[in-house]
Structure formats: C-alpha cells, structure tokens
C-alpha cells in the first residue's frame, strides 16, 4: 500500500475521486479550485503507532485524514495521558494560533492522510473565504464536541461514560460506513480509558458487567450491542 501509482498529480491521486470528498475541508471547493488544491497536498502514510505530530512541535503541516483512525492526546509531565479525541476520515488536523501543535497525534492502525505545507495552504485560503468558512465550521463543530466531552469527564459515572462512548463512536462510524449494531473498536482499552478519564481495569470491568447483563457482547475487535435501548438509557441518564 506504499505510494506507487504514477500519474501527473504530485499527490498521485485526484481530489475529485477522493473518498472523503464531501466530508472534509475540500467540500467547499469548486472543480476548478479542486484541481489547484490537488497540487497543494501530498498523500502520506503512517504505520500503526507512528506519531504524526507531537504537542509543542512547531506546526509545519496540516493534515486531512483519508483512511484509518488517529488518537489525539495530551500528556502531563508525569506521564498521565488524556485523549482529547479520535480522528476519523474527513477530519482536519493541525489548526492552531500559537504556531505549535496543542496536542499529539498518532496512528491507530495504518493511516493515510493528505498533508499540506502550512505556508502554501495559508496562501490558498487567503483569497478563498468559502474555504475559511468551511474550516471555521469544522472548528465550531469540534468545539461543541469538546464541550460535550467535558460534561462526560466531569459529571458522569464510569457506566455512563462507557455507554456514551459506545453510542458516540457508533454514531461517528455510522456517517462513514453506515449503521450496525456491532461497533468496531480499533483502539486499545488503554486508549478508551484515557479518553474517558478512567483506568483500563474499570473499562474492562464495565464491559464485562454490561455483557453479564446482556446489554452487549464483547466480540473480536469490538462490541456488539445486544440491547441498544439499555445502553441508550445508561448514556441518557
């Protein structure tokens, strides 16, 4: 799956055929702009566990996630970690005002992204307010998600956290791959714990408890919702 196809595009690909066209920042561009945009980004790959950028790194690039899942996190000096989000295809990463990334990002499984050098991308936006509007829209949506997550971290019990996570993750995958009662979980228990502000043991015990009560089944690589209404009741509480 290395870059291999030779085309006239520096990207090696056409934006017009892109899987996340319609979801991502580029949904705001018309066909003519899109052809120009194609020359701005290049397709990059990251292997499982590879770090795309680290907190405090000077921002040199922005990324548009095309395939795979990434974990976005912050570390405390003593190593405690808080995952501030998981990125999925269509997500746009790297915006900040300090010139430095304010969180770290690494690949969970193989990842493909569209990489843009900061300066030319900035220039491209300059005279395209609709692209800026699109970026603003994505930022505002993320802000809303961040506030929801604060409520979860500050005010919900372990059971509620886990139930809310399962439904939220299913919902996000739904808009990409369609509905299913089986929720694939590509991230580890440690990742889930660090996202929910819990320990790995509590996450594991909560899954086990929900399974004993017949609400879910723990399947290979994910969770199957056996009694979605029950999980929804827990998440709503």
């Amino acid at each position: 799956m290395r870059a291999s196809v030779v085309t006239i595009e520096p990207n090696g690909h056409f934006c017009s055929e892109c899987a996340v066209r319609g979801l991502a920042v580029c949904s705001s561009l018309d066909p003519a702009e899109l052809r120009e945009f194609e020359h701005l980004g290049r397709r990059v790959h990251f292997a499982t566990g590879e770090t795309v950028f680290s907190e405090e790194d000077i921002t040199t690039s922005f990324y548009n996630l095309l395939e795979g899942v990434m974990r976005l996190y912050k570390l405390l000096p003593d190593g405690r970690r808080q995952i501030v989000g998981f990125a999925l295809p269509g997500d746009f990463l790297g915006m900040n005002i300090s010139g430095r990334h304010n969180f770290s990002a690494d690949a969970i499984g193989a990842v493909t992204a569209c990489q843009f050098a900061k300066a030319p991308f900035g220039r491209f936006i300059e005279d395209r307010p609709h692209l800026l509007r699109r970026i603003n829209e994505l930022a505002i949506r993320e802000l809303s998600q961040a506030r929801d997550h604060m409520v979860l971290l500050g005010r919900r019990s372990a059971d509620e956290k886990v139930a809310t996570f399962l439904l939220g993750w299913r919902e996000r995958l739904f808009s990409l791959k369609g509905s299913s009662n089986t929720v694939p979980l590509p991230m580890s228990r440690q990742d889930i714990a660090d996202y929910l502000g819990l320990t790995i043991e509590t996450v594991s015990r909560t899954f086990t408890k929900l399974e004993r009560h017949g609400a879910i089944a723990i399947v290979h690589g994910g969770i199957s919702l056996r009694d979605p209404a029950r999980i929804e009741a827990l998440a709503a509480a």
Copy 2:
C-alpha cells in the same frame, strides 16, 4: 445602571471608545467598517443570575461581552451541571452550526454585552473575510482551552484542579486588569465545583487545606496567593 445616555448611535455608544476594542472580534475591523458595525449591535444589560440564552434555544443573537462575568454550562437531565467555561470581557458568544445554542449562559453579577442579531451579523461577515478570520481565531483558541480543560477534568486530582483553576483565572484577569496576587472570585463555590468536576465540599476543603499550609489566604471575594510557587508546583505536577 440602565441604558440612559442619549446619542445618535443606536448602540448608545461608539465602538471606537469601547473597552474591549482590541480584544474582541471587532479588533479586525478598520475605522470605516467600525462605524458601520456600530449600527449592527445594541448594548444590553443583564442582572445577577439572569440567563442570557439557554442550551437548545434557537440562536437569534450573538453576544460580545463588554463588562462582567458569565458562566457557560450544560445540564444533564437529572440536574448535574458542568460549567464549560467562564466568559470575560472580549469573549464572543453564540457561534454554532446547528442553529441552536449548545450551552446555557448566565450572568455572574451585572453584565453588559453587545448584542448582534444573527442574520445581519452573518451578512456583515459575508464580504469581510478578515472578520471571519478573527472569529475563526477565537474559535481555535477556545478549542485549545477546551482541550486543556479536558486534561484537567479527566486526569487531575482535586488539589491540582483547584491550583490550576486559580492560576488560570488569575492569568485571564491579568490580561484584562493587570497582575495581582489577589485573585477575585466573583463566582460561587458551587460554580467552581461544577467547573472543576468536584463537589462544593471538596472545593471548600481544598481551599482550607491550602490556607492551612500557608499557600493561600481566603479573603473576602477571592483568594490571595501567599506562596504562588507552591500553587504553581501543584498545578504543574
């Protein structure tokens, strides 16, 4: 303190003389634009405890906070509350993509704000990309603060939460009113608890403990930092 001064401005005031000019969204406007902008907003007042807007309300206005402090919060169905932030002069409130507010806001003490009707404000932005860029900048800054707060809520102890809060609040007031080791706290203990994901009792006990250890003094209407280095050590941990 009701609206009283009569001038030719619908606002009753001049943006060019505004206290938050330079801090707020309007910092991106040139003098000519500013005069036009003046006709867009009107000055509104809110009394202590008054609600400016509620979560799920349809967004009809945006607000630029001029004076006072507001609490921004979300409620769970059973009444648990998470304060997602405190707003200070210069903060811009009401942006969302759903057309509904995604949190509630009410006044802590008397508040003055500049209110903009959604539609005309949207039209004003339309052909002024620099204003859009400014709004985007504010959103991205807030997003960064939101992520920092997630770390606090998910991964820090009560002591660390309280210490981090005191320093962060002092820092925000610093950019408005200059430095001081006495940190005014206009919000109640309940507000602080709901901001930090703690109970009122834990906040109170933590203040008392810090005071016993000589790190702070609990003064009327706020906290005096007696040993800032100690508080900083706690917050850094």
